[in-house]
Symmetry: C2
Subunit: 208 residues, 2 copies
DNA sequence: TAAAACATACCAACTGGTTGGTTTGTGTCA
DNA sequence: TGACACAAACCAACCAGTTGGTATGTTTTA
C-alpha cells in the first residue's frame, strides 16, 4: 500500500551526511560545503531542500528522533513481561550499542544541544523534544514497574527516566574526553545497579 | 613570596571573556573577534598572548581547572570527618551551585570536549585532564569511605568518581535542552540516592 | 491525446560579509 | 634604551546564502 521506489534523493543524502558529520565535528564547525561534499550534491540542492543551515539542524534532529525511535522500538527488551525487566533490558541494550568509534555511538541531539541551546532556539526545542519523547517511553515502563513492585518512592518515574538520559549523555562526554566507550560502559553499569537498588532486586543481564 | 601587583592584563581579560563566551555560544561559534570585543582588547593583544585560537582553548581549559580547583578546595564539605559525609557533601555542594542562568552553572570543559574531541587533540587532552584530575579528588574520599564501611564492591572508587562526573555533565545537557537547572538538580538527587544505597545509609543533607 | 503550462529537483558560478591570523607601528616600564 | 604589551590596519581564505539556469516529470487544457 505504498513504499514508493524510494529513490535516494539529495535530501536523504544530506540528512545522512549531516548525522555523520555533526556527530564528528559538531554543529558549528560543520559547514554547508562539508555536507554537500559528503553527500555528493551541490549547494543549490542543499538550499533547495533547506531554507538555512538552522533549518537543516531542526530537520536532522527530527530525523534522528525517527531513526532512534525505530531502533529502540525494534529492540528485544520489549518482550519482557515484567516492566522492571524491560527497564533493565533497556539499560543493557544501551550498553550493548556502545560500539565502534566515538562518533558512531554518541548522540547527535546531545551534541547539538550543547552548541545551540542559547543561540538557536528552534534547534534547542527540536533536540529537547527528541530527548523528552524518548524519555517518555522509558517512563511508562518505570511507572508500571513502580506499581507492580508497590514502590512508595520520593522520586517520580519521570525524573528517573530523565536521569537515565542524563547518565547516557554524560557518559558520551566522558567517552569523548577519553577517546573510547569503556568509561561510558562503566557509567551505564552504575545506572543499572542504581535501578536494581531502587527496586530492591538483583538480576543478571538476560541474553534475549 | 610573590604576588606581583596583579595588574589585570589583556591575557586575564581574554581568559575571563573566553570562559563566559564559550559557555554561552560554544567553542566553534566563538570568534576571536568576539573574545577581543568582550575583553575590550584588540586582535594584536590576543595574538600577542596566544599563538592561535586552539592555543587559547588549551590555556582556558587549564585556567578553568585552576578556578574550579580553588572553588572546590574552599568548599565546606571537606570538614566532615567521615569520608562518606564528604562524598555526600560534595554532591550536595554540586547541587547548591546549580544557580543562575544556564551558561553560568554549566561546565566549560564539557562543552569544549563535545566540540573538539575529534578535531583538536590538544584541547581534548586538556579537557580530559581537567575532568580526570577533579574526579581523582572525589575518588580519594570514595576509596576511604569504602575502607571505613568495609564495602566489598564489584565496582571501583575510580569508576564511581567518574560516574559522578558523567551524571553532572549529562545533567548540564538536560538543563541546556530544557532551559533551566531544575532537571539537573533532580539528576543530582538521584546520584545522591545512589551513593546512599551503595553504602547502605540514609543521611539528611548537613547544613554546614 | 498531444501539446502547453507548470512544478520539482538539481547544478555551477558567484557575492558580500566574516574569519583566523599577520604586519607594522606606538606607548610604557624596568 | 631595549624589551615587552598592546593597538590599528590589513589580508587571503572561507562562509552562508543567492542567482540564473537546466532536466525531468506532472497536470491542465484544447
Amino acid at each position: 500500500m505504498n513504499a514508493p521506489p524510494a529513490r535516494r534523493t539529495a535530501r536523504d543524502k544530506i540528512m545522512d551526511a549531516a548525522v555523520a558529520t555533526i556527530r564528528q565535528k559538531g554543529y558549528a564547525a560543520t559547514t554547508v560545503d562539508d555536507l554537500c561534499a559528503a553527500a555528493g550534491v551541490t549547494k543549490g540542492a542543499f538550499f533547495h531542500h533547506f531554507r538555512s543551515k538552522d533549518d537543516l539542524a531542526v530537520a536532522v534532529a527530527n530525523y534522528w528522533s525517527e531513526m532512534t525511535g525505530a531502533l529502540f522500538a525494534a529492540a528485544p527488551y520489549h518482550h519482557h513481561a515484567d516492566p522492571l525487566d524491560r527497564v533493565l533490558g533497556y539499560i543493557d541494550f544501551r550498553k550493548d550499542i556502545l560500539r565502534g568509534t566515538v562518533p558512531e555511538f554518541t548522540c547527535l541531539v546531545g551534541t547539538m544541544t550543547q552548541e545551540a541551546y542559547d543561540t538557536h532556539p528552534a534547534v534547542r526545542i527540536a533536540c529537547d523534544r527528541c530527548i523528552s519523547d524518548h524519555a517518555a517511553k522509558i517512563e511508562a515502563d518505570i511507572a508500571e514497574a513502580m506499581r507492580l513492585y508497590q514502590l512508595d518512592a520520593d522520586w517520580t518515574a519521570a525524573s528517573l527516566a530523565l536521569h537515565t538520559q542524563a547518565v547516557l549523555q554524560g557518559a558520551f562526554i566522558l567517552a569523548k574526553a577519553k577517546g573510547g566507550p569503556e568509561v561510558a560502559a562503566q557509567s551505564v553499569d552504575h545506572l543499572r545497579r542504581y535501578v536494581e537498588l531502587l527496586f530492591g532486586v538483583k538480576r543478571e543481564k538476560a541474553n534475549v
